[in-house]
């Protein structure tokens, strides 16, 4: 019984560490920001083409 529990604790610690340093939310946020910039730019670009 002792061995599996030890292993579980190790896995938990590893998971905790991954969580502590993960920047996946930052990656998603900067992508969303980039998409917003592209969307805004393309919208005005089509307005520009429309008015040429």
């Amino acid at each position: 019984m002792a061995k599996p529990e030890l292993q579980r604790t190790k896995t938990n610690t590893k998971k905790m560490k991954e969580h502590d340093t993960s920047l996946k939310g930052t990656l998603a946020s900067v992508f969303l920001l980039g998409f917003f910039i592209i969307f805004s730019w393309v919208s005005v670009y089509f307005l520009f083409l429309h008015r040429l």
Partner: protein, 549 residues
């Protein structure tokens, strides 16, 4: 870090506070002028006693764009440098006061000529509109005063470096020095146009002025001016907010590098304000458009660093999922909430800026009220909300008081009021601009033209937004007055964050000012020399002055 003082010295605090008081007086007067403008443009209100729309427009622009910002920034930077690099010497403090009084006398002089209707030339003071010479003289004093304060900062920085050989300067001091270097280099342009062109012209010493040269020199100054406003907000974001939320600076070196990139790329880009200017060849406009787009890099670095700071903090508190860290942020703390809302508004502000600077695409929005909407997001929301958030700890820190829970709650409400008011005002400015509504002009139906009638509902929305924003100004003035004079006595922290992983060597390498200033000057020479010679060699006869108000 050993000599780092936890509290700003009382004498330095007085100097910083004096600047901040002038800044908030300017906010009160300039904000009132702004409210009146939006009411006039709604078409439902006329100014009493024959006051000109253009007089209050100039009052608004000069007081908020130049006075509020410059005074707050220099006051904040004095406090930040004193806090992180030690108390000023008597000599530095003396020159700080000389700078303050020079700027204040300059402001009073400029305000006098604007308010007496002798200088309704707007804050861009474009020739051939000609103001009374006193207006230009007053502005010169404001700039000269800021130079004196800049040199006082440099002397203090040099002393710190001498006393700490082999050590990197404290982050906030480094940032303040970068901003003052940027300011000194860019104000040379506005000083040149005022002293060489506009003053002699307004005094009648010369008859005519080269309009294109004056506008070019103005925008050589005018765009970095935007970054002079923005960099102190970034100082708060990078170096203060992590401490406020209980986290660490994501990367000290990244922050320093972003500041140096802003120094390089915010000056040789003035042509993106002159994309429809005849007399500048498309090639040189294109060169400066490319340089403008380089500014996107440090801007996105900053966005990344902020998200990373927040996420790292949230995860250290056990946040899970993609965006779970957002829930761990201190939403009830106005010191965090106001700057955070400022950051959010910088997303549409930045996107709009990229559109404005996109060379031919600028034709869609040039000289429309879209542009006014744009800079009310950048300076009047992102920068100003960050300054308000900073004032909520800076003013009580300097005045020896503490912010009560009630004031903190009011500050949260103020931020929400500002966000709502600005969404109305700036949002409708953007949409009306896309429909062709001009900026800088009083209410007119242009002979009931169908296109101009389309703009009116948006102009009413701007008045609604302007009114809400004015309520926001009253709220922030109540809070600041309380923090300066009436809040309970006590100790308030000046939050300065530490880096997650200090990289002393990288930070030390960033103190290489000869190299940074050399690159800055080289980029300016590349971007401006040829087109500037062209403007002088192929100049038209020049224009007489006009007073159209």
């Amino acid at each position: 870090m050993m000599n780092e003082t936890v509290k700003v010295d009382r004498r330095d605090a007085k100097l910083a506070l004096a600047h901040i008081y002038v800044a908030f007086i300017a906010l009160a007067l300039g904000g009132l002028a702004g409210l009146l403008q939006t009411l006039v443009r709604s078409g439902k209100f006329q100014l009493p006693a024959g006051i000109s729309y253009y007089t209050i427009l100039t009052t608004h622009g000069v007081l908020l764009g130049l006075v509020l910002t410059t005074f707050f920034i220099i006051g904040f930077q004095f406090a930040a440098v004193s806090r992180t690099s030690g108390t000023f010497s008597n000599r530095v403090r003396f020159w700080g006061w000389v700078g303050f009084w020079t700027m204040t006398i300059g402001t009073a002089t400029t305000a006098f000529f604007i308010l007496t209707g002798q200088a309704s030339v707007l804050y861009t003071f474009y020739a051939p509109l000609q103001a009374h010479a006193g207006f230009y003289l007053g502005l010169t004093l404001v700039v000269v005063g800021s130079w004196i304060s800049g040199f006082a900062t440099f002397v203090h920085y040099a002393r710190w470096k001498k006393e700490h050989p082999g050590k990197a300067s404290p982050l906030l001091t480094f940032m303040a020095v970068t901003n003052m270097v940027l300011w000194l280099v860019c104000t040379l342009g506005v000083a040149a146009t005022v002293l060489i062109q506009l003053l002699p012209w307004s005094l009648g010493i010369v008859d005519r002025v080269n309009v294109l040269v004056s506008r070019t020199l103005f925008w050589y100054f005018g765009h970095p001016l935007v970054y002079f406003w923005l960099l102190p907000a970034y100082m708060v974001w990078y170096a203060v907010i992590p401490k406020v939320i209980g986290g660490k600076i994501f990367s000290d070196s990244l922050a320093r590098l972003a500041f140096i990139l802003f120094l390089f790329f915010s000056i040789p880009v003035g042509f993106h304000h002159q994309l429809l200017e005849p007399g500048i060849t498309p090639f040189w406009k294109y060169v400066q458009v490319v340089l403008t787009f380089m500014v996107v890099i440090p801007s996105l670095m900053t966005a990344f660093a902020m998200f990373a700071t927040f996420e790292a903090y949230g995860r250290s508190k056990g946040a899970t999922g993609l965006f779970g860290w957002l829930r761990k942020l201190p939403w009830g703390d106005a010191r965090f909430f106001a700057p955070f809302v400022g950051m959010l508004f910088f997303i549409p502000a930045g996107a709009g800026g990229i559109i404005n600077a996109s060379h031919q695409m600028d034709q869609v929005v040039h000289n429309t009220i879209w542009v006014t909407g744009h800079f009310h997001l950048t300076v009047a929301t992102t920068v100003v909300l960050t300054f308000f958030g900073a004032a909520y700890w800076l003013v009580p820190h300097l005045s020896g008081r503490v912010m009560t829970k009630a004031m903190n709650r009011l500050a949260i409400i103020q931020t929400v009021v500002w966000a709502v008011g600005m969404s109305f005002m700036s949002g409708s400015m953007h949409f009306a601009g896309l429909l062709g509504a001009p900026r800088r002009s009083a209410f007119s139906t242009y002979g009931n033209s169908p296109q101009a009638l389309e703009w009116i509902p948006y102009q009413i929305a701007q008045a609604v937004g302007g009114t809400i924003l004015f309520i926001g100004i009253i709220l922030v003035l109540v809070i600041i007055t309380n923090l300066a004079f009436f809040a309970p006595k006590g100790e308030t922290e000046f939050p300065v964050a530490e880096a997650a992983e200090p990289q002393e060597r990288a930070a030390l390498a960033m103190d290489n000012w000869k190299l940074w200033i050399g690159i800055t000057i080289a980029l300016i020479l590349i971007a401006y020399t040829v087109p500037f010679i062209d403007m002088i060699q192929n100049a038209p006869p020049g224009s007489k002055g006009y007073k159209l108000w």
